[in-house]
């Protein structure tokens, strides 16, 4: 590690520094991962209710017909799609695909676009 520059940074105008799109995707990857872990009990509960008996299956189905649960499903689809596609981007970067400054940005935009398309399709499917 370099120890030559010990001078503290001065006059750093923070609002002028923009996080590049790759940084945004990276932060969202972490955030979506945390949110996914937090939502695991709820999804396990849905799975358990759907497999217990006919009446509990009907109850869960009825729940998925309500607006709040549909909205929640859409958010979960967005979360998992983002985590999946951004994860694929990281795996591709492991094999040196999209590691340059331009390539990283392009990959990050592709991630954002894929999530937008996938959540639109999921939205239509959920609210049709």
């Amino acid at each position: 590690m370099s120890t030559t520059n010990k001078r503290p940074l001065k006059n750093l105008y923070l609002p002028g520094i923009q996080l590049p799109v790759g940084g945004v995707v990276s932060i969202l990857h972490r955030l979506s991962g945390i949110l996914w872990v937090v939502s695991l009990p709820l999804m396990l509960w849905f799975l358990q209710q759907s497999l217990t008996d006919d009446s509990s299956y009907q109850r869960v189905s009825a729940l998925f017909a309500t607006l709040p649960i549909r909205l929640l499903s859409l958010i979960l689809v967005m979360i998992v799609t983002h985590h999946l596609v951004a994860g694929v981007r990281h795996l591709l970067q492991d094999v040196e695909i999209g590691v340059t400054r331009e390539g990283g940005s392009r990959g990050a935009w592709i991630v954002m676009l894929t999530v937008a398309v996938a959540s639109s399709v999921a939205g239509v499917w959920l609210f049709k």
Binding site: V37, L51, G87, L91
Partner: protein, 119 residues
């Protein structure tokens, strides 16, 4: 400059790095398979859903996905804690809570797959 010592923790870190990627690849394939299966052939009622789940390979695929997800979650949450939490006691506390949380989920998902889905 002190020479770099290769200790056990270096290999440990590589193991976690590799495990995070292997579980990621399985989960990606699983997620795409599950989404495709549910979209192409939506579950038609309780008995059909139950019958699909009683099928061995499906439950095995789910079991592997749950295991992968919990391992992946542990490594992921750990790196988040190590990056953003500075006080040692807070790190240890969050690691402990996460370990308890994920262990509970592991037992619960095993119960669902072995008892509920098999009934």
């Amino acid at each position: 400059m002190t020479p770099t010592r290769l200790t056990g923790s270096v290999q440990h870190g590589f193991g976690q790095w590799l495990l995070q990627r292997l579980t990621a690849m399985y989960l990606a394939v699983f997620a795409i398979w599950l989404a495709t299966a549910v979209i192409l052939d939506p579950p038609a009622g309780f008995s059909a859903w139950k019958a699909w789940f009683a099928y061995g390979p499906v439950r095995l695929a789910f079991a592997l996905a749950f295991m992968s997800m919990l391992v992946h979650a542990w490594i992921g949450m750990r790196s988040v804690f190590l990056d953003y939490l500075k006080p040692l006691w807070l790190r240890i506390l969050m690691h402990l809570l996460t370990a308890v949380f994920l262990t509970a989920l592991a037992l619960w998902s095993a119960h669902i797959l072995l008892v509920e889905a098999a009934r």
